[in-house]
Symmetry: C2
Subunit: 189 residues, 2 copies
């Protein structure tokens, strides 16, 4: 398989591509995470991923396969939780998620020259009830400030606090790898 | 939390208890994995876990909390896939699982003195279609001979080959940790 360019600095996405044995290198361009107000959540994740992919493509060759992704957490129909900006923000996000179901949506954009494949993958996640003490323990020890919704499923709070999921587990970690691998093969043809 | 005894040599179960920050030590007694013919799969997993727990309890103090587990893979209603005994067995198990849904059932038995908590947790797993070449690559490289159903969800084949799951991801790794933590707290009361 041809080496791809991962347009993401996320250590979790890098780890997932390594586990999938996909050869890749990382190139990141700064983009804002702005999106048009009122846009549906699935479109938001793809919109932000596309911005990341296009910014990297502008700096690389036309033959390269570029993979970008953006993961958002959605509570209810419209309430998008981004990355928490401080401790109180992280604690209040986790209090809102505790005992509830939410959606994790990863938007993926794969570019090669003028070809684009894009999609959003959704996984439903259900948290157990969590006490404020458990939430504060997690936030203070794991500092989830780079994580949408203020948690990582593969950290303590995911291991002891998540009752069940429905969909792709690795999507919750930041990349729906099994589908990404198939789409990379499709765009290479 | 009081230290528990994990009656399992599985490195994956050890890792899950570490991630959950549960203090534990490992003690293992040999038991057969025999079960009465015709027993329903959920009961089989609990039956084998109970054998493991009781064997360890016979060698330890009455105050200790002992946790044992057994994970089985069930295709269709009754077809229990155990650990593959050789390469052809592993390949044929994975060919049977490819493109299909199956259940992963972990039976858990927690003992403290004459108190017992037992339950079975089920996760549904759906594989993508897999080619024989992909299956042989996985079996030859990852040698899944200690794994029920001949695969681990956290290895290459799980990352690129699983379409979705429904239930507890960590249950597929070998221990439904979030429920185990709650039940350990319950038995300690």
């Amino acid at each position: 398989m041809k080496k791809i360019i991962l347009a993401s600095a996320s250590p979790r996405r890098k780890q997932l591509l390594e586990w999938a044995e996909i050869p890749f290198e990382v190139k990141v361009s700064n983009t804002s995470e702005w999106f048009p107000p009122g846009m549906p959540p699935e479109e938001v994740a793809v919109y932000i991923a596309r911005e990341k992919a296009k910014a990297v493509q502008a700096e690389t060759g036309i033959e390269e396969i570029i993979v970008a992704a953006d993961t958002i957490v959605v509570l209810g129909d419209q309430n998008i939780l981004g990355k928490p900006v401080h401790r109180e923000d992280a604690v209040s996000m986790l209090l809102a998620l505790a005992g509830e179901k939410h959606k994790v949506i990863t938007g993926v954009v794969i570019l090669q020259g003028d070809k684009e494949i894009s999609f959003a993958d959704t996984t439903e996640v259900e948290f157990h009830d969590l006490t404020e003490k458990q939430i504060e323990f997690y936030v203070d020890k794991y500092k989830p400030y780079d994580k949408a919704g203020a948690y990582a499923i593969q950290e303590w709070i995911g291991v002891v606090g998540i009752r069940s999921i429905k969909g792709d587990f690795y999507n919750v970690m930041g990349l729906p790898v099994s589908r990404v691998v198939r789409e990379i093969q499709a765009i290479s043809l």
